[in-house]
Subunit: 105 residues, 2 copies
Amino acid sequence: MDLIFKALADATRREMLDRLLDQPGLTLGELIAGTEMRRQSASKHVQILEAANLVVTEWQGREKKHFLNPVPIQEITRRWVDKYSETRAEAVLNLRQVLEVRSST
Amino acid sequence: MDLIFKALADATRREMLDRLLDQPGLTLGELIAGTEMRRQSASKHVQILEAANLVVTEWQGREKKHFLNPVPIQEITRRWVDKYSETRAEAVLNLRQVLEVRSST
DNA sequence: TAAACATGCAGTTTTTTAACTGCATGTCAA
DNA sequence: TTGACATGCAGTTAAAAAACTGCATGTTTA
């Protein structure tokens, strides 16, 4: 779980995921096309995304194709985000408490 | 959006959110109780959580009560996670492509 | 087979983040 | 009003992450 959050913390990596969502199978060279980034930096970002299982790859000859894997993101939703969403009503109550305290002082 | 992801990237901060989910209104001192962390470190973590709007606070005399705000997390789900979840079927197709290529080589 | 290509890996520098030290401010309670 | 308490803020140090440099490996194609 920590690897996923860490991987998603970087805007560059989130943009990479976005591009792979639109264009599955991009190579490393295609991923950095139009950016200022060096190939080596992008490569390390990809490694981090792979370690988090957010990206899976397939070698085709000398090219490495990259694909988005949405499963870990769904896992975050299921195991983590939902926990907070379910307590929305409760949380609103908490915030109301806050406001009550505020208005009474 | 970046502030939220960055804030969630740190395990210590995610634990803080968990504690505030269970026990709304904890003070800073109560938050660090039972941990090795110094008060000042925790204070910076709280600042980061506040900047991301994941935590709201209310002063009560000399005590500062902390409350979880689930809205940014729900926003991530709505504006970001959903985008990837909706493409689940598509993504499975992509992965199938990968496997086909793999088995044919 | 040799040149161009696509990528990987190791090592260094730079930047960012986290933790700590020390002092300041405001609140409560005797 | 004074001492203990709860927290804030500025500055330093330590650790982690990101970007870059240079070289190596395997693949395609002329």
